[in-house]
Subunit: 326 residues, 2 copies
Protein backbone atom coordinates (compact mmCIF):
# COMPACT_ATOMS: atom_id res chain seq x y z
CA UNK A 1 0.00 0.00 0.00
CA UNK A 2 1.26 3.42 -0.97
CA UNK A 3 0.44 7.02 -0.13
CA UNK A 4 1.72 10.20 -1.83
CA UNK A 5 3.06 12.19 1.08
CA UNK A 6 4.79 15.55 1.52
CA UNK A 7 6.71 16.68 4.61
CA UNK A 8 7.38 20.24 3.44
CA UNK A 9 6.13 22.73 0.86
CA UNK A 10 8.25 24.17 -1.92
CA UNK A 11 8.22 25.96 -5.26
CA UNK A 12 8.63 22.75 -7.33
CA UNK A 13 5.66 20.61 -6.30
CA UNK A 14 6.99 17.28 -7.66
CA UNK A 15 10.11 17.72 -5.51
CA UNK A 16 8.22 17.75 -2.22
CA UNK A 17 5.84 14.84 -2.80
CA UNK A 18 6.77 11.15 -2.87
CA UNK A 19 5.15 7.73 -2.74
CA UNK A 20 5.62 6.19 0.70
CA UNK A 21 4.74 2.59 1.65
CA UNK A 22 2.47 1.93 4.62
CA UNK A 23 1.22 -1.20 6.37
CA UNK A 24 -2.30 -2.39 5.79
CA UNK A 25 -4.20 -0.85 8.72
CA UNK A 26 -6.36 -2.93 11.07
CA UNK A 27 -10.05 -2.10 10.68
CA UNK A 28 -11.90 -1.00 13.79
CA UNK A 29 -15.61 -1.24 14.53
CA UNK A 30 -17.64 0.44 11.74
CA UNK A 31 -14.71 0.93 9.39
CA UNK A 32 -14.11 -0.23 5.83
CA UNK A 33 -11.05 -0.47 3.60
CA UNK A 34 -11.35 1.35 0.28
CA UNK A 35 -9.13 0.89 -2.75
CA UNK A 36 -8.63 3.98 -4.87
CA UNK A 37 -10.25 3.94 -8.31
CA UNK A 38 -9.34 7.46 -9.36
CA UNK A 39 -8.39 10.85 -7.87
CA UNK A 40 -7.62 14.00 -9.88
CA UNK A 41 -4.76 16.45 -9.47
CA UNK A 42 -6.47 19.84 -9.35
CA UNK A 43 -4.75 23.26 -9.60
CA UNK A 44 -5.62 23.81 -5.92
CA UNK A 45 -3.69 20.60 -5.04
CA UNK A 46 -0.60 21.97 -6.77
CA UNK A 47 -0.97 25.29 -4.91
CA UNK A 48 -1.29 23.36 -1.65
CA UNK A 49 2.07 21.68 -2.36
CA UNK A 50 3.73 25.02 -3.14
CA UNK A 51 2.12 26.69 -0.12
CA UNK A 52 0.20 29.27 -2.18
CA UNK A 53 -3.29 28.00 -1.36
CA UNK A 54 -5.67 29.71 1.07
CA UNK A 55 -5.94 26.73 3.41
CA UNK A 56 -2.97 24.48 4.14
CA UNK A 57 -3.08 21.19 6.09
CA UNK A 58 -0.56 20.51 8.87
CA UNK A 59 2.55 18.56 7.79
CA UNK A 60 3.20 15.77 7.00
CA UNK A 61 0.16 15.43 4.72
CA UNK A 62 -1.11 13.20 1.92
CA UNK A 63 -1.93 15.01 -1.35
CA UNK A 64 -5.30 15.06 -3.07
CA UNK A 65 -8.71 16.33 -2.02
CA UNK A 66 -11.26 14.27 -3.91
CA UNK A 67 -11.70 10.94 -5.62
CA UNK A 68 -13.65 7.68 -5.74
CA UNK A 69 -12.80 4.18 -4.55
CA UNK A 70 -14.37 0.78 -4.15
CA UNK A 71 -14.97 -1.11 -0.94
CA UNK A 72 -12.53 -4.01 -0.63
CA UNK A 73 -12.94 -5.06 3.01
CA UNK A 74 -15.56 -4.60 5.74
CA UNK A 75 -14.54 -4.11 9.35
CA UNK A 76 -16.36 -5.48 12.42
CA UNK A 77 -20.06 -4.65 12.56
CA UNK A 78 -20.31 -3.34 8.96
CA UNK A 79 -22.96 -4.68 6.56
CA UNK A 80 -23.00 -1.88 3.99
CA UNK A 81 -21.78 -0.59 1.58
CA UNK A 82 -21.16 -4.00 -0.01
CA UNK A 83 -17.75 -5.18 -1.17
CA UNK A 84 -17.18 -3.75 -4.67
CA UNK A 85 -19.45 -0.73 -4.15
CA UNK A 86 -18.12 2.50 -5.65
CA UNK A 87 -18.03 5.31 -3.06
CA UNK A 88 -17.07 8.98 -2.99
CA UNK A 89 -13.96 9.60 -0.90
CA UNK A 90 -14.48 12.19 1.86
CA UNK A 91 -13.36 15.63 0.59
CA UNK A 92 -9.98 16.69 1.95
CA UNK A 93 -8.89 13.28 3.28
CA UNK A 94 -5.66 12.99 1.23
CA UNK A 95 -6.88 10.91 -1.71
CA UNK A 96 -3.63 10.13 -3.56
CA UNK A 97 -3.18 6.73 -1.90
CA UNK A 98 -3.82 3.15 -2.95
CA UNK A 99 -5.95 2.42 0.12
CA UNK A 100 -7.90 4.35 2.67
CA UNK A 101 -9.74 3.45 5.86
CA UNK A 102 -13.07 5.25 6.41
CA UNK A 103 -16.19 5.13 8.57
CA UNK A 104 -18.74 3.08 6.61
CA UNK A 105 -21.75 5.19 7.65
CA UNK A 106 -20.18 8.44 6.38
CA UNK A 107 -19.65 7.18 2.83
CA UNK A 108 -21.74 8.33 -0.16
CA UNK A 109 -22.34 5.38 -2.57
CA UNK A 110 -22.09 6.14 -6.28
CA UNK A 111 -23.47 4.21 -9.28
CA UNK A 112 -21.16 1.21 -9.92
CA UNK A 113 -21.91 1.26 -13.64
CA UNK A 114 -20.71 4.87 -14.14
CA UNK A 115 -17.15 5.72 -15.21
CA UNK A 116 -15.17 6.10 -11.95
CA UNK A 117 -12.63 8.40 -13.63
CA UNK A 118 -15.36 10.91 -14.46
CA UNK A 119 -17.02 10.49 -11.05
CA UNK A 120 -13.68 11.08 -9.30
CA UNK A 121 -13.79 14.74 -10.38
CA UNK A 122 -17.31 15.53 -9.13
CA UNK A 123 -16.50 17.22 -5.81
CA UNK A 124 -14.51 20.32 -6.82
CA UNK A 125 -14.52 21.49 -10.45
CA UNK A 126 -18.19 20.81 -11.37
CA UNK A 127 -19.68 22.61 -8.33
CA UNK A 128 -17.24 25.48 -8.92
CA UNK A 129 -18.47 25.80 -12.51
CA UNK A 130 -22.10 25.40 -11.46
CA UNK A 131 -21.90 28.01 -8.69
CA UNK A 132 -19.94 30.50 -10.82
CA UNK A 133 -22.96 30.46 -13.13
CA UNK A 134 -25.56 30.76 -10.38
CA UNK A 135 -24.20 32.63 -7.33
CA UNK A 136 -23.33 36.07 -8.74
CA UNK A 137 -25.68 37.15 -11.53
CA UNK A 138 -29.24 36.02 -12.18
CA UNK A 139 -28.93 34.66 -15.70
CA UNK A 140 -31.78 33.62 -17.94
CA UNK A 141 -31.67 31.39 -21.03
CA UNK A 142 -30.04 33.22 -23.93
CA UNK A 143 -27.76 35.33 -21.70
CA UNK A 144 -24.05 35.42 -22.45
CA UNK A 145 -21.15 34.56 -20.14
CA UNK A 146 -17.45 35.02 -20.89
CA UNK A 147 -14.60 33.03 -19.33
CA UNK A 148 -10.88 32.63 -19.80
CA UNK A 149 -8.83 29.47 -19.14
CA UNK A 150 -11.78 27.88 -20.94
CA UNK A 151 -9.87 24.62 -21.50
CA UNK A 152 -9.34 24.08 -17.75
CA UNK A 153 -11.38 21.52 -15.82
CA UNK A 154 -13.73 24.18 -14.49
CA UNK A 155 -13.83 25.83 -17.93
CA UNK A 156 -14.91 22.64 -19.63
CA UNK A 157 -17.64 21.91 -17.08
CA UNK A 158 -18.82 25.51 -17.33
CA UNK A 159 -19.25 25.23 -21.11
CA UNK A 160 -21.32 22.07 -20.71
CA UNK A 161 -23.45 23.34 -17.81
CA UNK A 162 -24.10 26.64 -19.59
CA UNK A 163 -25.29 24.71 -22.64
CA UNK A 164 -27.60 22.56 -20.46
CA UNK A 165 -29.04 25.77 -18.90
CA UNK A 166 -29.53 27.53 -22.24
CA UNK A 167 -26.77 30.10 -21.65
CA UNK A 168 -24.29 31.17 -24.31
CA UNK A 169 -20.55 31.17 -23.70
CA UNK A 170 -17.60 33.16 -25.02
CA UNK A 171 -14.49 31.12 -24.24
CA UNK A 172 -11.00 32.58 -24.22
CA UNK A 173 -7.97 30.31 -24.66
CA UNK A 174 -4.28 30.83 -25.34
CA UNK A 175 -3.88 28.35 -28.20
CA UNK A 176 -5.68 28.16 -31.55
CA UNK A 177 -5.45 24.33 -31.37
CA UNK A 178 -8.01 24.22 -28.54
CA UNK A 179 -10.83 25.84 -30.48
CA UNK A 180 -12.24 22.71 -32.12
CA UNK A 181 -12.32 20.69 -28.88
CA UNK A 182 -14.18 23.41 -26.97
CA UNK A 183 -16.71 23.82 -29.78
CA UNK A 184 -17.35 20.07 -29.57
CA UNK A 185 -18.03 20.50 -25.84
CA UNK A 186 -20.70 23.06 -26.68
CA UNK A 187 -18.86 26.40 -26.68
CA UNK A 188 -20.71 29.06 -28.69
CA UNK A 189 -17.67 31.27 -29.30
CA UNK A 190 -13.99 30.42 -28.77
CA UNK A 191 -11.32 33.10 -29.24
CA UNK A 192 -7.59 33.28 -28.65
CA UNK A 193 -6.64 35.91 -26.03
CA UNK A 194 -5.00 39.14 -27.22
CA UNK A 195 -5.05 42.91 -27.04
CA UNK A 196 -8.03 43.42 -29.38
CA UNK A 197 -10.16 40.88 -27.51
CA UNK A 198 -13.12 43.19 -26.72
CA UNK A 199 -13.56 44.12 -30.39
CA UNK A 200 -13.43 40.48 -31.51
CA UNK A 201 -15.88 39.41 -28.80
CA UNK A 202 -18.27 42.18 -29.84
CA UNK A 203 -18.11 41.02 -33.43
CA UNK A 204 -18.63 37.36 -32.50
CA UNK A 205 -21.64 38.02 -30.27
CA UNK A 206 -23.21 40.71 -32.43
CA UNK A 207 -22.64 43.17 -29.59
CA UNK A 208 -24.84 41.30 -27.09
CA UNK A 209 -24.37 42.53 -23.48
CA UNK A 210 -22.35 40.14 -21.29
CA UNK A 211 -23.39 40.47 -17.63
CA UNK A 212 -21.00 37.87 -16.16
CA UNK A 213 -17.26 37.41 -16.65
CA UNK A 214 -15.19 34.61 -15.17
CA UNK A 215 -11.43 34.84 -14.71
CA UNK A 216 -8.99 32.16 -13.58
CA UNK A 217 -5.83 33.81 -14.89
CA UNK A 218 -5.25 37.21 -13.25
CA UNK A 219 -2.82 39.89 -14.49
CA UNK A 220 -3.86 41.74 -17.67
CA UNK A 221 -6.12 38.83 -18.67
CA UNK A 222 -8.57 39.97 -15.95
CA UNK A 223 -8.73 43.43 -17.49
CA UNK A 224 -9.29 42.06 -20.98
CA UNK A 225 -12.32 40.12 -19.73
CA UNK A 226 -13.50 43.28 -17.91
CA UNK A 227 -13.35 45.22 -21.18
CA UNK A 228 -15.79 42.76 -22.77
CA UNK A 229 -18.50 43.15 -20.11
CA UNK A 230 -21.76 45.09 -20.12
CA UNK A 231 -22.32 48.10 -17.87
CA UNK A 232 -23.00 47.03 -14.28
CA UNK A 233 -21.58 43.55 -14.89
CA UNK A 234 -19.88 41.27 -12.36
CA UNK A 235 -16.45 39.75 -12.90
CA UNK A 236 -15.60 36.74 -10.74
CA UNK A 237 -12.04 35.54 -10.22
CA UNK A 238 -11.52 31.97 -9.02
CA UNK A 239 -7.92 31.22 -9.95
CA UNK A 240 -4.48 32.70 -10.47
CA UNK A 241 -2.91 30.75 -13.31
CA UNK A 242 -0.66 33.71 -14.19
CA UNK A 243 0.57 33.87 -10.59
CA UNK A 244 0.04 37.65 -10.78
CA UNK A 245 -2.51 40.10 -9.33
CA UNK A 246 -5.72 40.86 -11.20
CA UNK A 247 -5.42 44.13 -13.14
CA UNK A 248 -8.62 46.04 -13.86
CA UNK A 249 -8.92 49.65 -14.96
CA UNK A 250 -10.57 52.22 -12.71
CA UNK A 251 -12.57 53.09 -15.85
CA UNK A 252 -14.25 49.64 -15.74
CA UNK A 253 -15.00 50.03 -12.04
CA UNK A 254 -15.99 53.70 -11.94
CA UNK A 255 -17.44 54.57 -15.33
CA UNK A 256 -18.87 51.16 -16.25
CA UNK A 257 -19.93 50.12 -12.75
CA UNK A 258 -18.23 46.72 -12.76
CA UNK A 259 -17.97 44.65 -9.56
CA UNK A 260 -14.99 42.33 -9.08
CA UNK A 261 -15.45 39.43 -6.69
CA UNK A 262 -13.78 36.14 -5.89
CA UNK A 263 -15.20 32.64 -5.58
CA UNK A 264 -13.90 29.93 -3.27
CA UNK A 265 -15.73 26.63 -3.05
CA UNK A 266 -14.44 25.99 0.49
CA UNK A 267 -16.09 29.22 1.65
CA UNK A 268 -19.34 28.33 -0.10
CA UNK A 269 -19.31 25.00 1.73
CA UNK A 270 -18.96 26.79 5.06
CA UNK A 271 -22.02 28.92 4.40
CA UNK A 272 -24.32 26.62 2.41
CA UNK A 273 -26.92 24.48 4.18
CA UNK A 274 -26.76 20.66 3.79
CA UNK A 275 -29.86 20.93 1.55
CA UNK A 276 -28.18 23.47 -0.75
CA UNK A 277 -25.09 21.26 -0.93
CA UNK A 278 -27.18 18.17 -1.71
CA UNK A 279 -29.07 20.01 -4.46
CA UNK A 280 -25.85 21.02 -6.19
CA UNK A 281 -24.08 17.65 -5.83
CA UNK A 282 -27.18 15.60 -6.62
CA UNK A 283 -27.64 17.32 -9.97
CA UNK A 284 -23.95 17.09 -10.88
CA UNK A 285 -23.52 13.42 -9.91
CA UNK A 286 -26.54 12.50 -12.05
CA UNK A 287 -25.24 14.44 -15.04
CA UNK A 288 -21.80 12.83 -14.75
CA UNK A 289 -23.16 9.31 -14.16
CA UNK A 290 -25.29 9.49 -17.31
CA UNK A 291 -22.43 10.92 -19.37
CA UNK A 292 -23.98 14.35 -19.97
CA UNK A 293 -21.16 16.09 -18.11
CA UNK A 294 -17.56 15.04 -18.48
CA UNK A 295 -14.03 16.37 -18.44
CA UNK A 296 -11.18 15.53 -20.79
CA UNK A 297 -8.53 13.31 -19.16
CA UNK A 298 -4.92 13.74 -20.21
CA UNK A 299 -3.44 10.71 -18.48
CA UNK A 300 -3.68 8.36 -15.50
CA UNK A 301 -0.75 7.51 -13.20
CA UNK A 302 -0.43 5.03 -10.35
CA UNK A 303 0.36 6.36 -6.85
CA UNK A 304 3.97 5.19 -7.19
CA UNK A 305 4.35 7.51 -10.23
CA UNK A 306 3.16 10.53 -8.24
CA UNK A 307 6.16 12.74 -9.05
CA UNK A 308 5.56 12.37 -12.80
CA UNK A 309 1.85 12.91 -12.33
CA UNK A 310 2.29 16.12 -10.32
CA UNK A 311 4.96 17.47 -12.69
CA UNK A 312 2.61 16.99 -15.64
CA UNK A 313 -0.38 18.49 -13.78
CA UNK A 314 1.64 21.53 -12.69
CA UNK A 315 3.03 22.18 -16.19
CA UNK A 316 1.09 23.93 -18.94
CA UNK A 317 1.26 21.20 -21.55
CA UNK A 318 -1.63 18.83 -21.05
CA UNK A 319 -5.00 18.30 -22.64
CA UNK A 320 -7.21 17.50 -19.72
CA UNK A 321 -6.96 16.38 -16.13
CA UNK A 322 -4.19 14.20 -14.71
CA UNK A 323 -5.60 11.39 -12.54
CA UNK A 324 -4.07 9.15 -9.91
CA UNK A 325 -5.16 5.53 -9.46
CA UNK A 326 -4.14 2.68 -7.17
Amino acid sequence: MLKAEYRQRGPVPQDVIEAVAFEKPKLNQGEVLIELLAAPINPSDVLTLTGEYGMLPPLPAVGGNEGVGKIVELGPGVNAPAIGQTVLLPVGCGTWRTHLVAQADKLVPLPNEADPKQLSMVSINPPTASLLLSEFVELKPGDWVIQNAANSGVGSYLIQLAKIRGLKTVNIVRRESLIATLKEEGADVVLVDGEDLAARVKEATGGAPIPLGIDAVGDTATGRIADCLAEGATLVNYGMMSGKPCKVSPASLIFRGMTLKGFWLAKWFENASPEEQMAVYGELTKLIACGKLKAPIDSVFSVKEIKHAVALAAGGKRNGKVLVTA
Copy 2:
Protein backbone atom coordinates in the same frame (compact mmCIF):
# COMPACT_ATOMS: atom_id res chain seq x y z
CA MET B 1 -15.68 89.09 -19.59
CA LEU B 2 -13.57 85.96 -19.92
CA LYS B 3 -14.16 82.24 -20.22
CA ALA B 4 -11.59 79.40 -20.01
CA GLU B 5 -12.25 77.49 -23.19
CA TYR B 6 -10.77 74.42 -24.90
CA ARG B 7 -11.27 73.44 -28.52
CA GLN B 8 -9.44 70.11 -28.35
CA ARG B 9 -8.24 67.62 -25.75
CA GLY B 10 -4.62 66.69 -25.17
CA PRO B 11 -2.13 65.11 -22.80
CA VAL B 12 -0.94 68.45 -21.33
CA PRO B 13 -4.13 70.04 -19.99
CA GLN B 14 -2.76 73.60 -19.65
CA ASP B 15 -1.87 73.54 -23.36
CA VAL B 16 -5.44 73.02 -24.54
CA ILE B 17 -7.22 75.55 -22.34
CA GLU B 18 -7.06 79.34 -22.67
CA ALA B 19 -8.87 82.45 -21.47
CA VAL B 20 -11.06 83.84 -24.26
CA ALA B 21 -12.90 87.18 -24.12
CA PHE B 22 -16.64 87.30 -24.76
CA GLU B 23 -19.22 90.08 -25.04
CA LYS B 24 -21.59 90.73 -22.18
CA PRO B 25 -24.68 88.71 -23.16
CA LYS B 26 -28.14 90.28 -23.34
CA LEU B 27 -30.44 88.91 -20.62
CA ASN B 28 -33.70 87.34 -21.77
CA GLN B 29 -36.93 86.93 -19.83
CA GLY B 30 -36.27 85.14 -16.52
CA GLU B 31 -32.47 85.24 -16.76
CA VAL B 32 -29.85 86.73 -14.44
CA LEU B 33 -26.19 87.58 -14.82
CA ILE B 34 -23.89 85.92 -12.28
CA GLU B 35 -20.33 86.91 -11.49
CA LEU B 36 -18.05 84.07 -10.45
CA LEU B 37 -16.94 84.05 -6.81
CA ALA B 38 -15.03 80.77 -6.87
CA ALA B 39 -14.80 77.50 -8.81
CA PRO B 40 -12.41 74.65 -8.04
CA ILE B 41 -10.22 72.66 -10.40
CA ASN B 42 -11.02 69.03 -9.56
CA PRO B 43 -9.07 65.96 -10.75
CA SER B 44 -12.08 65.06 -12.93
CA ASP B 45 -11.76 68.48 -14.65
CA VAL B 46 -8.15 67.72 -15.52
CA LEU B 47 -9.14 64.27 -16.88
CA THR B 48 -11.86 65.95 -18.96
CA LEU B 49 -9.21 68.19 -20.56
CA THR B 50 -6.96 65.20 -21.31
CA GLY B 51 -9.88 63.12 -22.59
CA GLU B 52 -9.50 60.39 -19.95
CA TYR B 53 -12.77 61.02 -18.13
CA GLY B 54 -15.86 58.82 -18.49
CA MET B 55 -18.09 61.58 -19.82
CA LEU B 56 -16.78 64.25 -22.20
CA PRO B 57 -18.67 67.37 -23.35
CA PRO B 58 -18.80 68.29 -27.05
CA LEU B 59 -16.10 70.74 -28.20
CA PRO B 60 -15.55 73.64 -27.88
CA ALA B 61 -16.30 73.64 -24.13
CA VAL B 62 -15.68 75.79 -21.08
CA GLY B 63 -13.82 74.06 -18.23
CA GLY B 64 -15.11 73.57 -14.70
CA ASN B 65 -18.09 71.72 -13.29
CA GLU B 66 -19.01 73.44 -10.06
CA GLY B 67 -18.70 76.76 -8.27
CA VAL B 68 -20.54 79.68 -6.68
CA GLY B 69 -21.26 83.18 -7.90
CA LYS B 70 -23.22 86.27 -6.95
CA ILE B 71 -26.10 87.84 -8.80
CA VAL B 72 -25.00 91.11 -10.48
CA GLU B 73 -27.89 91.83 -12.85
CA LEU B 74 -31.53 90.79 -13.14
CA GLY B 75 -33.13 90.23 -16.52
CA PRO B 76 -36.73 91.14 -17.49
CA GLY B 77 -39.37 89.67 -15.17
CA VAL B 78 -36.95 88.59 -12.43
CA ASN B 79 -37.49 89.61 -8.80
CA ALA B 80 -35.34 87.01 -7.04
CA PRO B 81 -32.64 86.09 -6.15
CA ALA B 82 -31.68 89.64 -5.18
CA ILE B 83 -28.61 91.44 -6.52
CA GLY B 84 -25.65 90.32 -4.39
CA GLN B 85 -27.16 86.94 -3.45
CA THR B 86 -24.67 84.07 -3.43
CA VAL B 87 -25.88 81.16 -5.58
CA LEU B 88 -24.66 77.69 -6.51
CA LEU B 89 -23.69 77.45 -10.18
CA PRO B 90 -25.51 74.67 -12.04
CA VAL B 91 -23.31 71.52 -12.08
CA GLY B 92 -21.58 70.94 -15.41
CA CYS B 93 -22.23 74.40 -16.89
CA GLY B 94 -18.57 75.31 -17.51
CA THR B 95 -17.80 77.33 -14.40
CA TRP B 96 -14.35 78.73 -15.17
CA ARG B 97 -15.66 82.05 -16.48
CA THR B 98 -15.96 85.53 -15.04
CA HIS B 99 -19.68 85.74 -15.82
CA LEU B 100 -22.50 83.37 -16.55
CA VAL B 101 -26.12 83.77 -17.60
CA ALA B 102 -28.61 81.43 -15.90
CA GLN B 103 -32.35 80.93 -15.43
CA ALA B 104 -33.20 82.66 -12.13
CA ASP B 105 -35.76 80.04 -11.05
CA LYS B 106 -33.25 77.17 -11.35
CA LEU B 107 -30.70 78.70 -8.98
CA VAL B 108 -30.03 77.44 -5.45
CA PRO B 109 -29.34 80.38 -3.08
CA LEU B 110 -26.54 79.89 -0.54
CA PRO B 111 -25.86 81.76 2.73
CA ASN B 112 -24.21 85.11 1.84
CA GLU B 113 -22.29 85.18 5.11
CA ALA B 114 -20.50 81.84 4.46
CA ASP B 115 -17.08 81.64 2.81
CA PRO B 116 -17.76 81.37 -0.94
CA LYS B 117 -14.43 79.60 -1.55
CA GLN B 118 -15.46 76.74 0.71
CA LEU B 119 -19.01 76.69 -0.67
CA SER B 120 -17.67 76.53 -4.23
CA MET B 121 -16.45 72.98 -3.60
CA VAL B 122 -19.73 71.58 -2.23
CA SER B 123 -21.09 69.85 -5.33
CA ILE B 124 -18.51 67.17 -6.11
CA ASN B 125 -15.91 66.22 -3.48
CA PRO B 126 -18.07 66.36 -0.30
CA PRO B 127 -20.90 64.17 -1.68
CA THR B 128 -18.29 61.76 -3.05
CA ALA B 129 -16.74 61.45 0.42
CA SER B 130 -20.14 61.22 2.08
CA LEU B 131 -21.44 58.52 -0.28
CA LEU B 132 -18.20 56.50 -0.17
CA LEU B 133 -18.86 56.20 3.57
CA SER B 134 -22.55 55.32 3.25
CA GLU B 135 -23.30 53.52 -0.04
CA PHE B 136 -21.19 50.36 0.22
CA VAL B 137 -20.86 49.09 3.78
CA GLU B 138 -23.19 49.68 6.72
CA LEU B 139 -20.82 51.26 9.22
CA LYS B 140 -21.58 51.96 12.85
CA PRO B 141 -19.78 54.36 15.20
CA GLY B 142 -16.36 52.99 16.14
CA ASP B 143 -15.88 51.14 12.84
CA TRP B 144 -12.65 51.69 10.91
CA VAL B 145 -12.23 52.86 7.31
CA ILE B 146 -8.94 53.02 5.37
CA GLN B 147 -8.24 55.35 2.44
CA ASN B 148 -5.26 56.34 0.33
CA ALA B 149 -4.72 59.75 -1.32
CA ALA B 150 -5.91 60.96 2.06
CA ASN B 151 -4.64 64.51 1.42
CA SER B 152 -6.85 64.90 -1.68
CA GLY B 153 -10.01 66.99 -1.59
CA VAL B 154 -12.21 63.91 -1.18
CA GLY B 155 -9.74 62.46 1.34
CA SER B 156 -9.88 65.54 3.52
CA TYR B 157 -13.70 65.70 3.49
CA LEU B 158 -13.81 61.98 4.25
CA ILE B 159 -11.64 62.40 7.36
CA GLN B 160 -13.91 65.17 8.64
CA LEU B 161 -17.20 63.41 7.82
CA ALA B 162 -15.97 60.16 9.37
CA LYS B 163 -15.12 62.06 12.55
CA ILE B 164 -18.58 63.68 12.62
CA ARG B 165 -20.17 60.21 12.21
CA GLY B 166 -18.02 58.59 14.90
CA LEU B 167 -16.00 56.46 12.47
CA LYS B 168 -12.25 55.95 12.71
CA THR B 169 -9.93 56.50 9.76
CA VAL B 170 -6.60 55.08 8.65
CA ASN B 171 -5.17 57.53 6.14
CA ILE B 172 -2.42 56.65 3.68
CA VAL B 173 -0.27 59.37 2.13
CA ARG B 174 2.95 59.49 0.14
CA ARG B 175 4.76 62.17 2.16
CA GLU B 176 5.66 62.29 5.84
CA SER B 177 5.09 66.06 5.80
CA LEU B 178 1.33 65.60 5.42
CA ILE B 179 0.82 63.67 8.65
CA ALA B 180 0.41 66.64 11.02
CA THR B 181 -2.14 68.42 8.79
CA LEU B 182 -4.32 65.35 8.44
CA LYS B 183 -4.23 64.71 12.18
CA GLU B 184 -5.43 68.27 12.70
CA GLU B 185 -8.34 67.53 10.35
CA GLY B 186 -9.33 64.62 12.60
CA ALA B 187 -7.46 61.64 11.15
CA ASP B 188 -7.04 58.84 13.72
CA VAL B 189 -4.08 57.17 12.01
CA VAL B 190 -1.89 58.57 9.21
CA LEU B 191 0.78 56.36 7.60
CA VAL B 192 3.13 56.75 4.65
CA ASP B 193 2.49 54.16 1.92
CA GLY B 194 4.97 51.30 1.51
CA GLU B 195 5.43 47.57 1.17
CA ASP B 196 4.87 46.72 4.86
CA LEU B 197 1.69 48.79 5.06
CA ALA B 198 -0.63 46.01 6.29
CA ALA B 199 1.65 45.22 9.26
CA ARG B 200 1.92 48.90 10.23
CA VAL B 201 -1.85 49.40 9.94
CA LYS B 202 -2.46 46.35 12.10
CA GLU B 203 -0.13 47.74 14.74
CA ALA B 204 -1.70 51.21 14.64
CA THR B 205 -5.29 49.95 14.94
CA GLY B 206 -4.56 47.17 17.43
CA GLY B 207 -5.65 44.67 14.80
CA ALA B 208 -9.21 46.02 14.53
CA PRO B 209 -11.08 44.70 11.46
CA ILE B 210 -11.45 47.24 8.62
CA PRO B 211 -14.60 46.53 6.59
CA LEU B 212 -14.25 49.38 4.05
CA GLY B 213 -11.27 50.45 1.96
CA ILE B 214 -11.18 53.46 -0.35
CA ASP B 215 -8.72 53.79 -3.22
CA ALA B 216 -8.13 56.76 -5.51
CA VAL B 217 -4.70 55.69 -6.76
CA GLY B 218 -4.84 52.35 -8.58
CA ASP B 219 -1.81 50.17 -9.45
CA THR B 220 -0.15 48.37 -6.52
CA ALA B 221 -1.59 50.95 -4.08
CA THR B 222 -5.01 49.27 -4.53
CA GLY B 223 -3.55 45.92 -3.50
CA ARG B 224 -1.85 47.40 -0.45
CA ILE B 225 -5.20 48.76 0.76
CA ALA B 226 -6.76 45.34 0.00
CA ASP B 227 -4.17 43.64 2.21
CA CYS B 228 -5.28 45.77 5.18
CA LEU B 229 -8.96 44.81 4.99
CA ALA B 230 -11.03 42.39 7.06
CA GLU B 231 -12.46 39.20 5.58
CA GLY B 232 -15.51 39.93 3.43
CA ALA B 233 -14.63 43.63 3.15
CA THR B 234 -15.44 45.99 0.29
CA LEU B 235 -12.81 48.06 -1.51
CA VAL B 236 -14.12 51.02 -3.51
CA ASN B 237 -12.05 52.73 -6.19
CA TYR B 238 -13.05 56.27 -7.21
CA GLY B 239 -9.93 57.64 -8.88
CA MET B 240 -6.83 56.76 -10.89
CA MET B 241 -4.11 59.08 -9.70
CA SER B 242 -1.41 56.58 -10.74
CA GLY B 243 -2.91 56.40 -14.24
CA LYS B 244 -2.58 52.61 -13.98
CA PRO B 245 -5.00 49.71 -13.51
CA CYS B 246 -5.96 48.57 -10.01
CA LYS B 247 -3.92 45.51 -8.98
CA VAL B 248 -5.47 43.16 -6.42
CA SER B 249 -4.39 39.63 -5.64
CA PRO B 250 -6.70 36.71 -6.37
CA ALA B 251 -5.92 35.72 -2.77
CA SER B 252 -7.75 38.84 -1.50
CA LEU B 253 -10.71 38.13 -3.77
CA ILE B 254 -10.92 34.34 -3.40
CA PHE B 255 -9.58 33.46 0.03
CA ARG B 256 -10.55 36.65 1.88
CA GLY B 257 -13.81 37.29 0.04
CA MET B 258 -13.12 40.91 -0.86
CA THR B 259 -15.38 42.78 -3.28
CA LEU B 260 -13.89 45.51 -5.49
CA LYS B 261 -16.28 48.15 -6.78
CA GLY B 262 -16.13 51.61 -8.31
CA PHE B 263 -17.92 54.82 -7.36
CA TRP B 264 -18.93 57.56 -9.77
CA LEU B 265 -20.92 60.53 -8.50
CA ALA B 266 -22.45 61.18 -11.95
CA LYS B 267 -23.92 57.66 -11.92
CA TRP B 268 -25.25 58.12 -8.39
CA PHE B 269 -26.99 61.32 -9.57
CA GLU B 270 -28.66 59.39 -12.37
CA ASN B 271 -30.12 56.86 -9.97
CA ALA B 272 -30.82 58.87 -6.81
CA SER B 273 -34.22 60.46 -6.23
CA PRO B 274 -34.44 64.28 -5.80
CA GLU B 275 -35.16 63.62 -2.10
CA GLU B 276 -32.00 61.53 -1.69
CA GLN B 277 -29.97 64.21 -3.45
CA MET B 278 -31.47 66.97 -1.29
CA ALA B 279 -30.72 65.02 1.88
CA VAL B 280 -27.05 64.64 0.95
CA TYR B 281 -26.53 68.21 -0.27
CA GLY B 282 -28.57 69.80 2.49
CA GLU B 283 -26.39 68.23 5.18
CA LEU B 284 -23.14 69.10 3.42
CA THR B 285 -24.07 72.71 2.65
CA LYS B 286 -24.97 73.25 6.30
CA LEU B 287 -21.71 71.73 7.54
CA ILE B 288 -19.66 73.85 5.12
CA ALA B 289 -21.59 77.07 5.81
CA CYS B 290 -21.01 76.74 9.56
CA GLY B 291 -17.32 75.88 9.09
CA LYS B 292 -17.51 72.30 10.35
CA LEU B 293 -16.44 70.92 6.98
CA LYS B 294 -13.74 72.56 4.92
CA ALA B 295 -10.99 71.80 2.45
CA PRO B 296 -7.47 73.22 2.33
CA ILE B 297 -6.97 75.72 -0.51
CA ASP B 298 -3.57 75.91 -2.18
CA SER B 299 -4.14 79.05 -4.25
CA VAL B 300 -6.66 81.16 -6.13
CA PHE B 301 -6.20 82.32 -9.74
CA SER B 302 -8.26 84.63 -11.92
CA VAL B 303 -9.81 83.25 -15.13
CA LYS B 304 -7.15 84.99 -17.20
CA GLU B 305 -4.48 82.96 -15.35
CA ILE B 306 -6.22 79.66 -16.22
CA LYS B 307 -3.13 78.02 -17.76
CA HIS B 308 -1.12 78.51 -14.56
CA ALA B 309 -4.05 77.35 -12.46
CA VAL B 310 -4.58 74.14 -14.46
CA ALA B 311 -0.84 73.37 -14.56
CA LEU B 312 -0.67 73.63 -10.78
CA ALA B 313 -3.85 71.59 -10.26
CA ALA B 314 -2.62 68.84 -12.61
CA GLY B 315 0.81 68.62 -10.98
CA GLY B 316 1.51 66.74 -7.78
CA LYS B 317 2.96 69.61 -5.76
CA ARG B 318 0.17 71.46 -4.07
CA ASN B 319 -1.32 71.55 -0.60
CA GLY B 320 -5.02 71.83 -1.24
CA LYS B 321 -7.39 72.76 -4.00
CA VAL B 322 -6.66 75.27 -6.75
CA LEU B 323 -9.58 77.69 -7.24
CA VAL B 324 -10.56 80.00 -10.06
CA THR B 325 -12.24 83.36 -9.45
CA ALA B 326 -13.47 86.18 -11.66
